[in-house]
Assembly symmetry: C2
Homo-oligomer: 798 residues x 2
């Protein structure tokens, strides 16, 4: 294995992340970094044998349970990892039992590896026990990508310098914790011919979970014992170990919940009874991964850090995207941490979704269908706030009801409770979700989904805007007052340009969808008209809003005011705060930050980015330049929102600021691998991972989507000699193999549009670029809509 590079904490090859030293201070961030998963569940990289203060966690999509203050959270599920090795030595005396643990004895070799290609996590250890016995231990685990209910562990044990009794205990720990809270009540547990099982149920949401586990040993004879301590069933194997002889223990766990079957325990034990051996399971897993990487990989040459780290970010998205369940979506911290409690934000639609949309469109459809399933919750929210239609939750979970906490409650006996206003005011999400639904339709031509689900999302969310805007009769314009824009440093603003323009854009598309539906699917149109109380008056109202919504924009300079009065706020020079290690809000305080022209993340620039693809108002080159010059220096890009850097990277790339683009891209790229915001322990930054993909494809790759398909106008960073990826667009795969210097768009396109047949052994991509048809999801019978660009050109307001 040839290592290709290293960062502060790791070395790596093309596909493998390697940690060669164990640092207890990084215990929690590394638990996040070494997360594995399979789109059904995610399991943090905690050690099989445990460690003081370790926070092992397994999150299963959709398994939420109630919790105070934040309403609901993803419940940490029973831990399938425990695999404890006890070296008894030659003496039968209990006191000479030595349990393998890294906080005792001596670590002579330590090597932890995450193989992205197959989702395999392994450790190679040589450990000397306190009494001086040396043993080689090699752990390996994966969550099968071929069968999402199967979790596999293997352990090789080789005594180096002793003979003696070794005991291996494999358990399911039914006492998992969410910050000390155990969401599970014990129902039952027991043993079968294959091993042990555990049945638990969440306390409030009443989701039942069944787990089964079995253990096999090879290379020796062993006695098996079953212990049934309540909530901690354990299989224990004891054998006489010989120096330098390797024994292998396999532990296989199955898991089901009542979200998939009425009888999770039976499902788990039955599956367990019919599983093949480790090698067969591993091979199926490898094949499943091969298929996925075949479509989703990005190959970078000339920059080994980026080459690996881009794949690392894609891996994180791939293990989090649900492949078989369209009632769940990807939480802000994916399935890899307790941060944000497993809640789902606009992060998914705006940052993560494009990766899936263009490489795994079935997952993209699941993600958007999740929003359709949560429409009842969004309607309850609208109704609560006195509006019509669907008002999507800023933070969403199982029902779609709003689960943003109202309060940040301090631990201080006399501290102030901070009201969190996002649930009430951060309403741009109501256009962000339709934006993603529209883009899904544009990219896939999936008319079936649009008429069945997408249209209802777009139309009912548009009805909300109709009730939310206020007509200012003095100005003769529509306003949206009292919001939080994308920039959360300003908590009560009027006419945020991002919100107003996105609402306007959304209404334009809503009318287009409405008209399209009436023409192509009149029955469905009638159905929705009745269900949503959609009238011709409403459509006219939307047109009126589109025509008259306030947008604060200086046509000469193209400078856009982020919200009314932003330019009157006190200015601040961020350079004065160089060397800081926290956000400007943390430095200035919430109140004061509201009064300065300092912003948490791109807001006007975010709007320009979202309008860039279709070159919609207010996007144009001059607007980009002007607003970049104004807003970029006022953005807390390093410690503000982690959503910022990737967007800056794309726009800087567009502006020809290559080194600036690369610098800020690296901030996004390494956010978790380097833990450069200090919160990787809370989980993977999912939106940043999605932003990385967009930065590579749309920024450096310079991809633009034309009527004829995606076109590259690449700006490869210094050092990148090759950038190779593929995109799925309207039923066809488009392969891009960009080399340094191929900047002319037309030439590139011609080079790329050659035919390619799927390789059985990715990621060895054939060297030619190509274009070819694929099977659905995009229905060949439903071509892309004929007018993908807006039927109503946006009407800027003075």
């Amino acid at each position: 294995m040839q290592t290709k590079g290293h960062s502060r904490n790791f070395i790596y090859t093309d596909w493998i992340l390697i940690e060669t030293q164990f640092d207890p201070d990084q215990l929690h961030s590394k638990e996040t970094v070494f997360t594995i998963g399979n789109g059904y569940l995610g399991t943090k990289g905690s050690f099989e044998e445990g460690y003081p203060h370790a926070l092992p966690a397994t999150f299963i999509h959709g398994v939420y349970d109630d919790v105070p203050v934040v309403y609901t959270e993803l419940a940490n599920c029973p831990d399938w990892l425990p695999l404890v090795v006890i070296v008894n030595g030659e003496s039968p005396l209990e006191t000479l039992r030595e349990r393998f643990r890294l906080d005792q004895g001596k670590i002579l070799r330590y090597d932890r590896q995450l193989d992205l290609r197959y989702g395999l996590l392994s450790r190679y250890l040589r450990w000397r026990s306190p009494s001086g016995k040396t043993i080689d231990i090699n752990f390996e685990r994966f969550a099968s990508f071929a069968d999402q209910h199967v979790l596999v562990q293997r352990c090789h044990l080789t005594p180096v310098d002793f003979d003696g009794v070794i005991e291996v205990q494999g358990s399911i720990n039914g006492y998992p914790e969410n910050q000390g809270f155990n969401h599970w009540e014990g129902l039952d547990q027991g043993k079968t011919d294959q091993g042990i099982w555990l049945q638990r149920r969440t306390r409030h949401s009443r989701i039942e979970l069944g787990m089964g586990a079995t253990m096999r040993i090879s290379g020796t004879e062993a006695s098996l014992q079953v212990s049934t301590a309540p909530g901690y069933p354990t299989l224990s194997m004891t054998y006489l170990a010989k120096s330098k002889q390797t024994v292998t223990v396999e532990k296989i766990v199955t898991v089901f919940t009542s979200r998939e079957t009425e009888t999770p325990v039976s499902a788990a034990t039955e599956k367990l009874a019919h599983l093949p051996d480790y090698a067969t399971l591993l091979k199926a897993n490898e094949q499943a991964w091969d298929e996925v990487w075949q479509q989703s990989d990005i190959l970078i040459e000339g920059d080994s850090t980026a080459a690996f780290a881009v794949r690392y970010n894609l891996f994180q998205l791939l293990i989090a995207g649900s492949r078989h369940d369209d009632k769940v979506s990807i939480p802000a911290k994916t399935l890899s941490g307790f941060g944000y409690r497993g809640h789902i934000f606009w992060d998914t639609e705006i940052f993560m979704l494009p990766f899936f949309l263009f490489t795994q469109s079935a997952i993209a459809r699941n993600l958007l269908s999740y929003r359709w399933h949560t429409l009842p919750g969004a309607r309850r929210k609208a109704s609560h706030y006195g509006y019509k239609g669907a008002m999507f939750a800023w933070e969403s979970a199982d029902t779609g009801d709003e689960v943003t906490p109202r309060w940040a409650l301090g631990n201080d006996f006399y501290g102030e409770d901070v009201r969190i206003w996002c649930r009430d005011r951060e309403i741009h999400i109501n256009a962000d979700i339709p934006y993603a639904a529209w883009n899904y339709w544009q990219a896939t031509g999936d008319d079936e989904w649009m008429q069945q689900r997408g249209a209802e999302i777009i139309l009912d969310a548009a009805i909300f805007w109709g009730s939310r805007v206020e007509f200012n009769s003095e100005r003769q314009q529509y306003e949206i007052r009292g919001v939080i824009g994308v920039d959360e440093y300003h908590e009560f603003v009027h006419n945020n340009a991002f919100t107003n323009r996105m609402a306007q854009w959304h209404l334009e598309k809503a009318i287009a969808v409405y008209d399209w539906l009436a023409q192509k699917f009149p029955e469905r149109a009638t159905e929705l008209e009745e269900k949503l109380k959609l009238t011709p008056q409403e459509r006219s109202h939307w047109q009126d809003i589109i025509a008259k919504i306030l947008f604060l924009h200086e046509p000469l300079t193209e400078l856009i005011e982020q919200f009314e009065g932003f330019f009157q706020l006190e200015d601040i020079n961020l350079a004065d705060y160089q060397g800081r290690d926290r956000s400007m809000q943390a430095i200035l305080g919430i109140e004061k930050t509201n009064k300065y022209q300092v912003i948490k993340q791109p807001d006007i620039l975010m709007l320009l980015y979202l309008m860039r693809e279709s070159a919609d108002f207010p996007y144009n080159e001059k607007a980009l330049q002007t607003n970049w010059d104004y807003y970029a220096p006022r953005t807390d890009i390093t410690y503000g929102s982690s959503l910022g850097p990737a967007v800056h990277a794309i726009l800087a790339s567009d502006l020809g600021k290559s080194s600036e683009a690369y610098e800020v891209f690296m901030q996004a790229l390494m956010v978790d691998l380097e833990d450069n915001r200090g919160n990787t322990s809370d989980g993977i930054h999912g939106a940043t991972a999605g932003g990385v993909w967009q930065a590579v494809i749309f920024g450096f790759g310079g991809i633009q989507l034309t009527e004829n398909g995606p076109v590259a106008n690449s700006h490869l960073p210094d050092g990148w000699t090759r950038l190779k990826f593929k995109l799925h667009w309207r039923g066809k795969w488009h392969d891009f193999d960009l080399r340094k210097g191929q900047v002319a768009q037309d030439i590139t396109r011609q080079l790329e549009y050659l035919h390619l047949s799927l390789s059985p052994n990715p990621p060895n991509f054939p060297s030619e670029a190509s274009e070819h048809q694929t099977s659905p999801p995009a229905s060949p019978a439903s071509p892309a809509p004929s007018s993908p660009s807006s039927p109503h050109s946006p009407i800027p307001n003075p």
Copy 2:
């Protein structure tokens, strides 16, 4: 055993509570009712073998840990109860293992008994397993009153109709839960020659706990196995059982925390290694209880329900009062439930303390010293609110800082959060604690405690009032505005009569204590003057407040207005709501309740009760009659505060309303035995238990404290033929043996004041009443202060 009576749920003898049927619907309330304890810890009456949804709990005084919203709570400690019996039958097949559990098989006999005399909880069961094997099982447990660190269990097992293998598993469950939250992180665990041990630490407060456990078997030979599932160490004994032969298993657990020793695990295992056998432990426990009941028992004849239930309430206080630690106090729900999170209220000083003061004064001193230890927290609270001196927490825990939650947060996604204002406004506690400290001094003559601790409490809390009152220059009077009085149905009132008069009374006593200290302990006086910044000006300020504080009182009728404007509120006829099953606040809503003349609990009447003993203003017979007639019908006595009924019972008794007094007394008396408020599952109503004692002694016993000691002017309820108890007053025990008809006060006193020597075998009290000297706590060298009544007669305000 002769049963003497029964209530809805129980039958009982003089000392033993008996439950003869198991009702799963009452699982949680019965877990509370069958709580045992020893003043160090309390353990709920959960079953040894577990039960679905059981909530076993052991609370140790002072073991608090952080929790969101309510800041801190008593941590449920590792569960020492698990004792699981598995009947294997003759087959070695695993599937024929049958675990004894009441939710399976058939219960042929069920009998649970709590013996109050010795704190013994036992169960007698005959159970038929699903496969038809019948076994008699008898469990017994106690928390030793002789050695607070020792917890004892015993189990007799007698197969009725089979021979076979029986396994008994005794565990410590290291996964205790506070509503799902586990406050304990695992440190270590292991085994010794004596058994197993467990070491845990609270997550935030870092209190370490060590537990040890051992098991012994007699009547057979058994094999012992030790299982060390993480957090669930288990001792397992397996033997060949013979039909009709009884085998006895004893399990003994020791427990220490880092609040008592630096090495809790060593302390626990060492104590375990040197413990005598079950019989010896039991005997020591019985002797310790005998001594306590000798002093604290109340004998009632002619009313078997009251006879038992009064003892039951005293038992609850006795197992909750800390005997060896003066840094803890008794939570509102004692150590028997999760309600109010183990927080400490005025309930302790005003309701529970008198029982201890007059029968266990060392515990009373501990309870008050707890408040002295929390003065730093009370000073932080005063400072936070912009006041001086000490402002005691409405809800207090380990530090004395305010831990009343700010918010009652709903689970509803769109519900309103309810602000709880008690932390800010319910300030009468700042006079209640000094009231209790003063009474302790009066009753014990403990000058040493008063000069060392009591004076600082009384003076620093008085300084708070000096900074809290506002002078109204128009009225030329002092006001206390913006408070919650005792009646919590009115949340923002001005000049609550209770608060104003208690503050005035407190300042009167503060001046008395200040002067006494200056005269008797001038050095301590100087020390406190410096520490508290106490000046002659402050003393004058107090005198000015005493003279000019507003008190809304109609001198002609003696009617007192509960607060300014109360009489202007809309009236309500509670009779219109007869048959209701919840509080008026629950029926009307918080907002509306504020606008009515309906009160949660006695407020003016509570003031009259507190001033009754010393016949201080505004107490007099006419005032009592007038205010009773006005306020009693407006009080939500049934479903308002549980603090109300006992106080009403006393005052009704004073007013000669015997049957009304008895009726409301029974509401208090049976609050937990009958679960008549439906919340016994949250824990014992500690204040009600204390109120019961006061109702019996001061109400029915008619005890008044004179210069020459307590005097009885009894009003025994119908049917009570005898009421016998003793009171400790200024170094002497006063025995009362009241018979029906002995109502003339002087005669009663003469009859009572005969000499009595302590009986070695209580509660067989000798029949004569007597008076005798005892050893300290009341120091014979420090007689009671010569002027126990206030040196400044209270000055009523027009």
